[in-house]
Amino acid sequence: MLDMTPKKLAVRKALRINPAKTCQPVGAMYAALGVHRCMPHSHGSQGCCSYHRTFLARHFKEPAIATTSSFSEGACVFGGGSNLKKAVKNIFDIYNPDIIAVHTTCLSETIGDDLNTLIQQLDIPAGKIVVHTNTPSYVGSHINGFANMMSGFIKYLSEKNAVPNGKIGIFPGFVNPGDMHELKRIAKLLGVKYIMFPDTDGTMNSALTGHYEMYPKGGTTIQEIRELGGAQHVLALGEITSCTPAMDLKRKCGVDFTALPLPIGVEATDRYIMALSHLSRREVPAEIEEERGQLLDIMIDSHAYYGDKRVAIAGDPDTVLGLAAFCLELGMKPRYMITGTPDEKFSKKAKELLLKYGVTDCIAKANTDLFELHQLMKNKPVDLLIGGTHCKYIARAEDVPFVRAGFPILDRYVHPYMPLVGYRGAMRLIELICNTLLDRQDRDAADKDFELVM
């Protein structure tokens, strides 16, 4: 496995090998799938749309709907306006969404299609909406695409002079429907009135009924996105993902926001709950405190297995930061934290976090790839690897225990339904991490050392 990866690291300036990121449009598509009765539309070649739908379907094991402008060579020369016009008419005619969310691609960006103008020239049926965002694939990553699509909705829809509605806007970051569900559950337990945006809980985890609904019941409604303009405050979870749209909402509608880390682990979940409680002036209910206590109980019960274990974590920036924070809370020490998303905030945040726990020998790097992570691991090995499915090759090559967490997970089931966030999410993470470590201990134990009780 990965036999040609040499131990010796060489500086690479141009060649990306085994990336830990993908391009903006897929993030935009995912964000748009979290809006009720929305059709994501890819303005570019039909291959982009096909790849993105495929990839989302593989992670979520759900239909990922989206349409394309199907650029031909001619459209590249004359511009994609005519293709967009035809597409929008056909989408409303045939698939009847309430809103079409257009995102661009490297193709339409390079030829310079001006979506603002093109959309103004469209003949949009009464009561229907078309919004857009710019997602050039050659800038940032899918994380930025997700954020940009959110900004696109906000810029078109959120009302400037909305009536204050006392609701808390919750921007969940690039997470699974299971996470969004958990974030909402906590908010409901606190009795907080909220707007979750986007919200794929209900759209990317829909039930099997024998009747296919192209637009399932979930998703942030258009009305809710409008109402974001009148929200009391926004909690932008995942500072690297959610700050841009939160800033855009503040700029447009004057809604203040608080940036928080993804609520993964004890402290980050505490902060989420404290913020909700503070903003809503509601006390934290006993049920939540009970859950927290249970989590702590499990952490103490199983603490012996984590001590000083060295961990490598790869994936999306906010997810990696959250997972690292919880690993530290468990008593493990990250040795590598890497993301493909090019954002130096990641390394800065990672350093702050590591410093808090006195870890000084961890390499935290943005804008890198899994090939480099593998080379690093060959030089200084780790006891545990946490990341998306692509890490499984490294785990096999180096025979390292491996926990799947984050995006994308292409080779396992159920994960989109389950949270990483909140105290319940932390319990699940312990189950994943502890079981993986114990399975390894079992596997490696000699018969005489094989334990019944652990």
Binding site: Q46, G47, T54, P63, D93, L107, Y138, L208, G210
Partner: protein, 533 residues
């Protein structure tokens, strides 16, 4: 309203005008029908097609295990073609590039100032780290638009590093589907790779190439196993578990077997012109089809020992699957199916379904051409549109040294009379009829419609449809990725296919979808309850 009209009913004038020629009802009489194919998709329809890059890098070049294929462009394209197609490869020397993804990860500055320097540097780094013999460059959309001269970079690095480097201009917007990319990849392989080794003319022997076999789930390995057992030597496979090295010797084979006609017929034809190597359309999907294929190859070589071994191998294989074959046939007989795949499999899989008594009632291709539906006899009548004309057609000349002595004309004609598909493919339509329906470049809406109308017992398609179809209550298996199973080829593969089909149709969960409280009352009470007294 017949089925076809029902599918088209919702469309507005313009869409109707376009789609009506892509949906064909086939009647019993077997009268030849014309279908519109390989033309632009209608923007806004949720189609299953990919792009030119997907056909070139994803399909044809990606499976080459000993080659560094660098995607020149932003990160997404290279990322999505990394390990997702299940073109398995096993490098005996441990040099297997299939587990890797290489990209120039082009950034905004490269778009503005050009990406050639970065591409050059990327190849330099690949050479320094991996020492490959061959590097291939696949361009993505923006590269063509900014005008990077990737061929010039390829020429430079060839001189500089002593490697073979081939640049493919397979930008996603070219052509109308993956199909354009197949053609572009075929051209490059023919011009630069096939026949490039310094071979000597080999004696006439049972040397064959398998063309258009991508080793999805190990299909190619299963074919090779049988062919070797019979006594053939497989020179090269294009391109499943294929290697640059093997391809350079492909011109020394005596016969080309064409499995996927759509993606590789260009090379088959060019090798015929250049080396006079005959090609024969084979099909290793399905039990009867595999038998037919093996016998036809043996007929081609017309050697008694080979013919004897062929029958022995068929006998052994049939015996090894006899019991399971009977079981799955008993479970599947009388079922109906829909089959929608790329450009050849929708035809191939109808045959294995037939083996188990399953009737295909709806079928279609994503990106096939008219000849894949109607047979190669329509080739002279196909009018090239602008999109097709933009894809280069190369011409090759007979090679002085390696021009084979193939079959004499008489024998060739004789085999053709026996329906051996020598230099010929009959297309899918001839195996369909009975009011079944074919849809070209099928989309999400049409898929839903045909499911509602035909209510097949199982629907074979890809991952983009799969979950929608299942939500509607129909079992759905993927014929692109085999649902991470396989091989599906040859005798044992047919059993694996049947087993997966059986498991999908008979999954216990299908019977539990409706909760009991929807059909049975949960509240019970009696009249005159004494508690109410």
């Amino acid at each position: 309203m017949d089925a076809r009209e029902a599918v088209l009913d919702k469309y507005s004038g313009r869409v109707f005008k376009n789609r009506k020629d892509h949906i064909i009802e086939l009647d019993e009489a077997g009268i030849p029908k014309e279908i519109a194919a390989n033309s632009r998709s209608v923007p806004g329809l949720m189609i299953n097609r990919g792009c030119c890059y997907a056909g070139c890098k994803g399909v044809v070049l990606g499976p080459l295990r000993d080659t560094v294929v660098i995607t020149h462009g932003p990160i997404g394209c290279g990322y999505y073609t990394w390990g997702t197609r299940r073109n398995k490869a096993d490098a005996p020397d441990g040099r297997n590039f299939i587990q890797y993804s290489f990209s120039t990860d082009v950034q905004e500055t490269d778009i503005v100032f050009g990406g050639m320097k970065k591409l050059h540097q990327a190849i330099k780094e690949a050479v320094e780290i991996f020492h490959p013999r061959a590097v291939m460059i696949c361009s993505t959309c923006p590269i063509g638009l900014i005008g990077d001269d990737t061929k010039a970079v390829a020429a430079e690095v060839e001189k500089e590093f002593g490697i073979t480097c081939i640049a493919y201009s397979c930008e996603g917007y070219k052509g109308v589907s993956q199909s354009a990319g197949h053609h572009i990849a075929n051209n490059g392989l023919m011009q630069r790779v096939i026949g490039s080794a310094n071979d000597e003319v080999k004696e006439k022997a049972f040397r064959i190439n398998i063309l258009g076999e991508y080793n999805i789930g190990g299909d190619g390995w299963e074919q090779e196993r049988l062919l070797k057992k019979i006594g053939y030597e497989v020179v090269a496979v294009l391109t499943g578990d294929g290697s640059f090295e093997a391809l350079t010797h492909a011109h020394t084979a005596n016969l080309n077997l064409v499995q996927c006609h759509r993606s590789i017929n260009y090379i088959a034809e060019m090798m015929k012109t250049k080396y006079n190597i005959d090609w024969i359309k084979v099909n290793f999907i399905g039990i009867d089809e595999t038998i037919r294929t093996l016998r036809e190859i043996a007929d081609y070589f017309d050697n008694d020992e080979i013919k004897k071994r062929t029958e022995e191998v068929i006998g052994e294989e049939l015996e090894s699957i006899a019991e399971e074959r009977k079981f799955y046939r008993s479970k599947l007989e009388g079922k109906t199916a829909g089959v929608f795949v790329g450009g050849s499999r929708s035809h191939h899989y109808q045959n294995v379904l037939k083996d188990f008594g399953v009737k295909t009632v709806i079928a279609g291709y994503e990106f096939a051409h008219r000849d894949d539906y109607e047979g190669r006899e329509v080739l002279p009548n196909i009018k090239l549109d602008a999109d097709s004309k933009n894809i280069e057609t190369i011409t090759v000349q007979p090679d002085k040294e390696f021009y084979h002595v193939a079959l004499d004309k008489e024998r060739f004609e004789e085999l053709r009379r026996q329906n051996v598909e020598l230099e010929y493919y009959k297309g899918m339509f001839k195996d369909m009829g009975d009011g079944t329906i074919t849809v070209d470049d099928f989309n999400h809406y049409e898929t839903e419609k045909v499911l509602d109308i035909f209510k097949p017992d199982i629907f074979y398609s890809g991952i983009k449809d799969k979950y929608m179809i299942q939500k509607k209550g129909f079992p759905s298996n993927q014929l692109h990725s085999y649902d991470y199973s396989g091989p599906y080829a040859c005798f044992k593969g047919a059993i694996t296919f049947a087993r997966n089909t059986y498991l999908s149709i008979y999954a216990p969960a299908w019977k539990m979808i409706v909760p009991p409280w929807r059909t049975k009352p949960t509240l019970e009470g009696t009249m005159g309850d004494e508690n109410y007294a």
